[in-house]
Assembly symmetry: C2
Homo-oligomer: 191 residues x 2
């Protein structure tokens, strides 16, 4: 079966919009909200920003280059908790700016690759998933953004779980990824 | 038990940020993404914008006024599908601007109410939920924003469900609110 190919234009449209959307949502937000989590080992909006920054540096473009270079060894595994070493202590405003700059550069790099439709079928070896295509990598990049945007919305919402009182039964987001129904680290994802 | 009181500053911080975050996310996005749904009777990002606009006009501030006026009759029921009559056909850019303007005015109105902490305990009668407080109404307003932001992220992500290939198993957002595990209208909420 031919893998479903995403449109590069659609992916770039999503990927280019994430930084400004996150900056508008999080910039200047009270610290108690920025550092709130869903409980347990879940991530705060602050943690997510560090994770997104690390991905811009170490994940998406390096893996795209790896595929285009025709490498046969697997991708380097991606460190999903690198942000706890690299970003901690920096103000959120700095993380938002850093993410915006890295994403802008990475979009220029991506467009500079002048990908043709056939390039989307080129393959690389994921250390756990096995053979994956460049098209799948790029679609995953965009969905990964949206997953973390949804996670941030959910985390900010859950701060108010008690405060909404009886309305809680109408607000589905408060019930998403409850610890009892989720993996040990609800709301996290791997790439 | 005393209801948990949210901080008005925190709620205003969230409520004031939603319009710019949504404009950054959706403004100029390809039409196929703007009108995508999660299937069935679920809403597209375009539909959600119409719903948010109608809420600014008919739901939150009118209900807050209703409570502060000491009304004993229930709130007017909120028409959850009003956007299908009122907004259809308008360009998304107009909906984003309209929402931004209405929310700005409503934040000014809310701050102009000069609410004291005791006002948060004042009650009104919800047509289905019974007695609710002003504090619960305001917290619900903010969580309702975040629920729909999460819904938009999820809807845009699901467009790429096939395109991500084997990475799908890592991307939890693609599994949220699957029709088989959700209400007849997954991703919708009532207020």
């Amino acid at each position: 079966m031919t893998p479903h190919k995403p449109s590069l234009d659609d992916l770039v449209a999503v990927l280019s919009r994430t930084p400004a959307s996150l900056s508008a949502l999080l910039g200047g937000l009270p610290q108690a909200l920025v550092t709130a989590t869903e409980g347990g080992a879940t991530w705060s909006p602050y943690d997510v920003m560090g994770h997104l920054i690390y991905g811009e540096r170490a994940n998406w473009i390096p893996r795209a280059r790896h595929i285009l270079a025709g490498e046969t060894r697997p991708f380097e595994p991606f460190d999903r908790t690198a942000q706890f070493n690299q970003s901690q202590g920096k103000p959120l405003s700095e993380l938002l700016q850093t993410f915006e700059g890295l994403r802008r550069d990475n979009m220029a790099t991506l467009l500079g690759m002048n990908l043709r439709e056939t390039d989307f079928d080129r393959t690389g070896l994921h250390p756990e998933l096995g053979e994956v295509t460049l098209g799948q990598l790029l679609a995953t990049w965009a969905v990964h953004d949206l997953d973390h945007l949804g996670q941030i919305a959910r985390t900010l919402a859950k701060v108010h779980t008690r405060a909404v009182g009886p309305w809680g039964r109408y607000l589905s987001i408060l019930k998403d990824r409850q610890p009892e129904s989720a993996s040990p680290q609800p709301g996290l994802n791997r790439t």
